[in-house]
Symmetry: C2
DNA sequence: AATAAATTTAGCTAATAAGCTAAATAGATT
DNA sequence: AATCTATTTAGCTTATTAGCTAAATTTATT
């Protein structure tokens, strides 16, 4: 369950152009890591990628992308799993489900509330 | 339809503690404006409130809250409608529906994708 | 016409964030 | 053991953001 600070951290992480693009690409694109292509691991899903392969798609220095990824990880938007000398990056779909749920509830509750008020004011 | 910049603006707006609390309160609480209580308008729903009445619930100076509200408005999270010398503030539920839709699609598409890959890797 | 209420604008300061390069660390390969 | 690959840490600069007070603007009330 996400508390308020968790949610704020998630929104802050997504409220930056570079991180949003990284997020979007990890969730919808998924770059294969060069080493994965040589030695695919069947316990890794295809989206799993590494810091360098993500950074290649951006015009920023590697440490900059590394720090953005850390922020996405700290917000639980992605997971970063060390395996040998590489970091495998995957979408954290549980967090997305929770956020989706928050907005769905917000819309549902709001519509309930509006109907209630319409009844009240008439 | 929200484009990428719109979405980033929305997340940036919600990624700040003060704005998140204002957002939360406008959507779930709804403070009545002192003047509304004296002269209720039947074309305004109960959540409609004004800058001062929102600011009363925060320990920040009025101009600070005013600027935060402007940012929520610019992100289309709330609407601000001038009526006489006051601003009526209401949730913009359409934007919330769109954001909810984005996360719902993300989760759905991801799960489709994962299933596809499982089929592929086996 | 003067005052009061609601809100914004302007201009300032301090904190935070985003970028960089250089150096450090950890593991793999030769 | 030396080198290469992947990544992070440190330390720096610049830009942005969040807060403030004071002043301006707009409309309502007396």
């Amino acid at each position: 369950m996400l508390n308020m600070d968790d949610k704020i951290k998630i929104f802050k992480a997504l409220g930056n152009e570079t991180r949003f693009k990284i997020f979007k690409n990890i969730f919808t694109g998924g770059y294969a890591c060069s080493i994965d292509e040589k030695q695919p691991k069947d316990d890794m899903i295809a989206q799993a990628t590494c810091v360098t392969s993500i950074a290649e798609h951006f015009d920023f220095a590697l440490p900059t992308i590394s720090r953005h990824l850390k922020e996405l990880k700290d917000a639980k938007i992605i997971t970063m799993t060390k395996s040998k000398n590489k970091i495998y990056i995957e979408p954290n779909i549980e967090t997305m489900k929770e956020i989706a749920g928050c907005f769905n509830v917000l819309v549902e509750e709001y519509e309930k509330g509006v109907l209630f008020q319409f009844d009240n004011t008439k």
